[in-house]
Symmetry: C2
Subunit: 481 residues, 2 copies
């Protein structure tokens, strides 16, 4: 009998559900191996469109960022003549400035627990400019991607099963996983697919009341904007309602805003931060508690492996901040992620700042326009299919089409013991090589079926896969008619 | 009344004690500011010898590692002619190989949950060669420094107040902090200062029996070797006793071996891994559960800000491994830390592999020899002082001298409400500019007093500070006589 067994270990770790694409991913990898071995299929490659992992799907890193980040850890080369041959002057100067900002020991020493000051200052400047309200470096906490920030706030806020967290459905499963891990209670509210996945105050009130009726005290309200997996962007009026609602019900608002730069219909669906909404309403002066997270993994940067991000805390008490810092000090934030976050928030906004920064501006723009084109193209395609609806491609890196699954297919899925949309995704993978995630992984209204695809595949890949998708969908519908 | 308050949040987060150098550090920074402002003191600088943070104290990064790591994230430059002017061929080739090993998307994508395979393979090869027993990449888990590995194992192993963890005293306070955070019980065993801080089986048995008597079930036994803060290196015979003891008492052995390369008296006090001991005894075939952690933050690499490390799991059940991977997958290990870990474990062992690798070999050797010289010099110095004893400088980055504090000083400290060795450290700082940590931060036998200093200050700094230290110590002893 081993010492560490499920029965004798921390139970929550086993109860957590976080299987982003389990069996489907295994199938995709098996198919991939067959392809590599020369076996022939209707498709030429597997497109891993299951994860918001931009570089893995072929998106280039921003070369300027990579050069500055890399060179910032090579201070011994700053003054070499050959360095000037390899790197543009603004790359060397930026790298030097960053290296010096770390202070003695550069990027190799433990950084301040809250993160290096120069990065926190850059973030505060970015937020101030973005919102038109001043942000302070003292409120910025650098972290290894957005996730540790989310985990930290939920870890601190939850004590027991009656401490509730309002979460959207459909949702990115991280939230449920953390709530299970930290012994809290999930209080789900449903996004309204009829209204382009908007959030409604009535539904928030219903969900809150339901929680209270069960003896749960909702302490945190999670809002993901732009939405994952739904790709919606909230409008200002509903955001105001949510802020007032959180204030009234005494909930900290945890604003997951990692897709804030992925806004594809900015005229109809502009993005505004919750920080700005809270300040517009004057709630920041009334003790409104807000945590907003951002990350280098999404946007046009897509540096997932870098682990860069930050969270901003508004009106959180000093004692709680001290506890957060103490827990953070057990670890240490990585320096490359902090550099990348600094680069992300201080990216050039116009041309004329040197060859490398101009190239950065162009690359940024190019990546954005490509994402926008792909979002619109995929949306147009999905809505052209029989029995498929799809909300407008407003933001984030995803579309979340709804599929009408024929009764026979539902029956077959039941026999196989899998959700009906998983069956759809399995057959899609086998026919097209496109790997997507079933809606059941995110939660959805009973009796509705969806899948989430990223918009990250190459534009060439899109040309190849859309005809296959059309054929597959038509075939699926008639096969199970 | 705020929403998040100490009274309404996760209690353990507030109960955790992890203040590595709180008030003393603040005083040092205040002194530093005065120095910068031109105020005159007996010393020219503050030496932050409180933390094992090599680069902050002036240790150079290994340039070869930095260049390979940096360039591995600039694949767009691999084939540029100018790159060949800036970097040696083996740097470019190594960077290219690493970049390709990450697969499509390079260092910017989410890496495999357990870590990239090439890094795990390098680690497994290193361990196999080190111990003479095969290690498997499947048993290696890459992590952001050693701490997340330690946290993960303790998080999984602890359920409730009766789940015990045997920890050494004096100890690096991370262990106590995690045990508080995860609701376990610390079962302290004392290292024997009379025997050069050795661990004795009698003391382990006493500590275990005491825990059992209190209704605690010790499930994990932590051994730190080389020791922190004590700098001792365990001998093979006692290691065998410990392994057998863990086996008999059904405890997982958590071997904190982050200082495995910092061995300064290798003939008298050679270092052997617990993996080798367990295999020598054949216990690996009898289900012995072992977790061994290593890090890029110490050794000759000293890359604390990089967050690189790994842990090896032996005989831990598949179910528990799955749970560990699931929790790990909520986050993602950073890519630069994995590259640095790969570089650390595959550092050149001989010359003749190219100019950059030869320079790496020399730099490694130079750093090691300097650490060894400083350890011996500091040891010789401390043992020359009246009323000070200090165990031989066997390993790690620290010395932990014991000081006889005069009654009057003990009395004064009591009046000031601080431990007597903290008073000693405060006065040392004010007289010499050297910041060290009081023994009370690590735990020590009642009535004994120590401080921990790193051996990381520059050799020049040492020349300056030793006469000041001698003067301070003599003055302190006569002042409170």
């Amino acid at each position: 009998m081993p010492i560490l067994t499920p029965g004798t270990c921390f139970k929550n770790a086993f109860d957590v559900k976080f299987d982003l694409c389990g069996k489907l991913l295994t199938s995709a990898e098996a198919l991939d191996a067959k392809l590599q071995a020369g076996e022939e299929f209707d498709f030429k490659k597997i497109i891993y469109s299951n994860l918001g992992n931009p570089h893995a799907l072929g998106q280039d890193p921003i070369f300027y960022f990579r050069e500055v980040m890399g060179l910032a850890s090579m201070p011994h080369l700053f003054d070499d003549e050959s360095t000037k041959a390899s790197f543009e002057p603004e790359v060397i100067e930026h790298a030097r400035k960053i290296s010096e900002s770390f202070g003695r020991g550069g990027t190799g020493k433990y950084t301040d627990t809250q993160g290096v000051m120069f990065a926190r200052k850059s973030v505060a400047e970015y937020i101030s400019k973005r919102d038109g309200y001043p942000a302070k470096p003292e409120d910025i906490y650098m972290c290894d991607g957005a996730t540790p920030g989310i985990q930290m706030v939920l870890r601190i806020a939850l004590r027991e099963k009656t401490d509730g967290v309002m979460i959207p459905i459909p949702q990115y499963p991280l939230y449920n996983a953390c709530i299970t891990l930290y012994d809290g209670a999930a209080c789900p509210y449903y996004l309204d697919e009829e209204k382009d996945w908007a959030l409604t105050l009535e539904e928030m009130e219903r969900a809150h009341a339901e929680a209270v009726k069960k003896g749960i005290n909702p302490r945190v309200c999670v809002v993901v904007n732009p939405g994952n997996p739904t790709g919606n962007v909230l409008n200002v009026e509903i955001m105001k309602d949510i802020a007032k609602f959180c204030h009234e019900k005494k909930m900290l608002l945890l604003a997951d805003e990692v897709y804030q730069r992925n806004i594809y219909m900015p005229e109809e669906f502009p993005w505004v931060s919750f920080k700005k909404i809270v300040c517009d309403l004057g709630l920041d002066k009334k003790g409104f508690e807000l945590c907003s997270v951002h990350s280098t993994s999404k946007g046009m940067v897509g540096e997932c492996g870098r682990r860069g991000g930050y969270f901003e805390l508004i009106n959180v008490s000093d004692e709680v901040r001290s506890a957060i810092l103490k827990l953070t000090s057990l670890l240490c934030v990585n320096s490359a992620g902090q550099i990348m976050t600094h680069l992300m928030v201080s990216a050039p906004q116009k041309k004329g700042e040197g060859k490398a920064r101009d190239a950065c501006y162009d690359q940024y723009k190019g990546i954005f326009e490509s994402l926008q084109r792909k979002a619109k193209k995929l949306h147009k395609f999905f809505t052209s299919l029989e029995g498929v609806t799809c909300c407008s491609p407003q933001g984030a890196l995803y579309l979340f089409p709804r599929i009408t699954i024929p009764e026979k297919a539902i029956h077959k899925a039941k026999e196989e013991g899998i959700p009906a949309d998983e069956l759809y995704c399995v057959e899609m993978l086998e026919s097209t090589g496109l790997l997507v995630m079933p809606g059941s992984s995110f939660g959805q209204k009973e009796g509705t079926y969806h899948f989430r695809t990223t918009i990250l595949m190459g534009e060439d890949d899109l040309e190849d896969v859309l005809p296959l998708l059309k054929k597959f969908h038509t075939g699926f519908m008639s096969k199970y008619e």
